[in-house]
């Protein structure tokens, strides 16, 4: 029982992951897709960060009084992943801007229609 409630962070991860995934697939608006993607990625960030926390561990700053530290490595990894995520989002938004210029819309269905009629 305690393990299920104690693992609440993983439940959050799963919830966010599914929400993000759903948004990507179900929405036709390109910007909403990007938002969904971000939610999806954020869930993974939370996965990493929460796994780094050690029960009863202090923040990972060297101090003679402390014996148990939380794991700093996941934070480092996630910084990298966040940067990647930001770059991806920026690129996606830039593409959306260009798509808007070319097609006049950012709805997937309308874009599809315009391409089909070619």
């Amino acid at each position: 029982m305690s393990s299920t409630l104690g693992l609440y962070n993983y439940w959050i991860v799963i919830f966010l992951m599914m929400v993000g995934f759903y948004v990507v697939i179900a929405h036709g608006n390109l910007i909403k897709k990007v938002v969904g993607l971000n939610i999806f990625q954020t869930s993974v960030f939370i996965l990493y960060i929460t796994m780094g926390k050690v029960d009863g561990g202090a923040a990972p700053i060297l101090d003679d009084a402390v014996t148990v530290y939380s794991n700093p490595l996941p934070h480092v990894l996630i910084l990298t992943a966040i940067v990647v995520g930001v770059a991806t989002t920026a690129l996606a938004l830039a593409l959306i801007v260009r798509i808007r210029e070319e097609y006049g819309t950012v709805e997937e269905e309308e874009i599809h229609e315009q391409d089909e009629s070619l």
Binding site: K33, Q41, M51, T80, R98
Partner: protein, 495 residues
């Protein structure tokens, strides 16, 4: 000093060259820099391969930090070979770039093209050479992001939507791999590939590890364009600039195959992957589906770049089929096909680039009468097509041989027959092109088309000659593939 740091330089050189290319405003200067970088990169990869073949695996500590805390670069036969493939294709395709890019990409974006190309090259090389699982993710994203840029620079507006679709699917795939790596880290506390291999041994019962396996497989399959996760590939290859298609078709998916090999054989190990998890069966089924679905859909395509993109989906199926057998012959076939397919598809897409340059289109209609107006280009396409079919004296034959042999060794006669039947489907779509080119006469404006310029023909024919040469003298490719396969099958233990 250079020799000691060769593994690092292999990635760093193109990485540093990329922003320099951006700073040079004129496309042609960027190209010169890019070409120089590619040649240097190629030289380094050749040096690495010969060092590995003679001296055994190379390990390199980034920044001098000892693994498993520091990032380690690890070069054995498999990745030295893939490094060579990526660098060689990168160079040959780059040689054809200035003419083609000048006509397909807007003048103010050309230096951007070369920047993205170099970044992609650096990313791909990084994926291959690194010995750290998270590092694979980072380089994967570097190469993917630059790929999205390359695709979007095509002059058809559908290139933008293709790039966007690829971005969404690719990011999901990469994130899946990230989840997988995270779960692995959670179970073992390390990210170093060799270390992971050691520690995962006793953990095969753990649900976390199994979940990690599943996530990683799906993520890699997306990058690999393994059926049914291949939907991003046809549009991206079709609408990207020809040089980008040539480069990507010949390298990106190969690198993903390498990642699959690394994860399944080195990190998770054969027993876990094939006995605890039903990988062999799953891959076998998907591979066969890929071969047939890819070939069948290819037959009905009018856009010829799309046709060859679907053909690539089928060819990837062949590689995965070899992997599904997990035998010496099967892995040799798969690794061999990495090289052979790169050569085949590289030459085909470059030839298509030449066609696009002269005629402005790559539909079947543009092929009419091509045998007369552009004989050398068409001959390159015919030879590439014959290689796809698997006619002897081409590289395609050698791959097919080993694949069928591997199937027979497993006692799977029906699979052997299916592999050859897939070749027959290739006959159909290749012959579509041959008939249009040699049997139909061009309409008036097509009749005025001249042969492609030498700048495009020569790189194409370099790959065509490689196609034939390595189909006759296979000592290098087969030798390396066999050594690599042996290494993979026996690895998974302590370094």
């Amino acid at each position: 000093m250079i020799a000691d740091n060769l593994p690092a330089l292999q990635v760093v050189v193109p990485l540093l060259a990329a922003p320099l290319a951006l700073m040079l405003r004129r496309g042609i200067y960027s190209w010169l820099l890019a070409m120089l970088t590619c040649v240097v990169t190629l030289a380094m990869s050749i040096a690495l391969l010969s060092e590995v073949m003679s001296g055994g695996t190379i390990t390199y500590r980034m920044g001098g930090w000892a693994p498993p805390w520091g990032i380690q670069y690890y070069v054995d036969t498999v990745n030295a070979f893939v490094l060579l493939i990526v660098a060689a294709i990168g160079t040959v395709v780059m040689a054809a770039a200035p003419t083609s890019v000048a006509s397909e990409v807007r003048a103010d974006k050309q230096s951007l093209f070369y920047t993205a190309y170099l970044l992609c090259l650096a990313g791909l090389l990084g994926i291959v050479i690194t010995g750290d699982a998270f590092n694979i993710f980072v380089f994967l994203e570097i190469s993917s992001l630059s790929t999205y840029i390359l695709v979007s620079l095509g002059n058809d507006r559908r290139a933008l939507t293709a790039a966007f679709q690829y971005l969404i699917m690719g990011t999901i795939g990469a994130t899946f791999i990230l989840i997988g790596v995270g779960l692995l880290y959670m179970s073992t506390g390390t990210l170093n590939i060799q270390d992971l291999a050691m520690r995962l041994g006793p953990l095969s019962e753990s649900r976390t590890v199994q979940a990690a396996f599943a996530f990683t497989t799906v993520g890699i399959s997306l990058k690999l364009a393994l059926f049914p996760l291949h939907l991003w590939l046809p549009n991206s290859y079709a609408y990207a600039p020809s040089i980008a298609s040539a480069f990507l078709a010949a390298t990106a998916t190969k690198v993903a195959v390498y990642v699959m090999l690394r994860f399944f054989f080195t990190i998770f190990g054969i027993e876990f992957s094939y006995e605890v998890m039903p990988l062999g069966t799953v891959l076998l089924v998907l591979a066969l589906l890929a071969i047939f679905a890819g070939s069948l859909v290819a037959i009905f395509q009018d856009n010829i770049k799309r046709l060859f993109a679907y053909s690539s989906v089928a060819q990837i199926g062949y590689m995965i089929l070899g992997i599904s057998f997990a035998s010496q012959t099967g892995l040799t076939a798969a690794i061999l096909h990495l090289f052979n397919h790169a050569v085949m598809k590289g030459s085909l897409f470059l030839a298509l680039g030449a066609l696009f340059y002269r005629t402005g289109g790559v539909n079947l209609a543009n092929f009419r009468g091509l045998g007369k107006t552009m004989p050398w280009t068409m001959m390159a396409i015919v030879i590439g097509g014959l290689s796809l079919i698997g006619v002897p004296l081409t590289v395609g034959f050698v791959s097919k041989w080993y694949l069928v042999l591997a199937a027979l060794e497993q006692g799977m006669w029906p699979v052997a027959f299916l592999v050859l039947a897939g070749s027959l489907l290739a006959v159909i779509y290749v012959w579509k092109l041959v008939e249009a080119a040699y049997f139909q006469s061009p309409d008036d404006e097509a009749a005025a088309v001249r042969e492609a310029p030498l700048a495009l023909l020569i790189p194409t024919w370099v790959l065509v000659i490689a196609n034939i040469y390595f189909g006759i003298d296979t000592s290098l490719t087969v030798g390396v593939a066999e050594t690599a396969a042996m290494g993979l099958l026996s690895s998974g233990g302590a370094p």
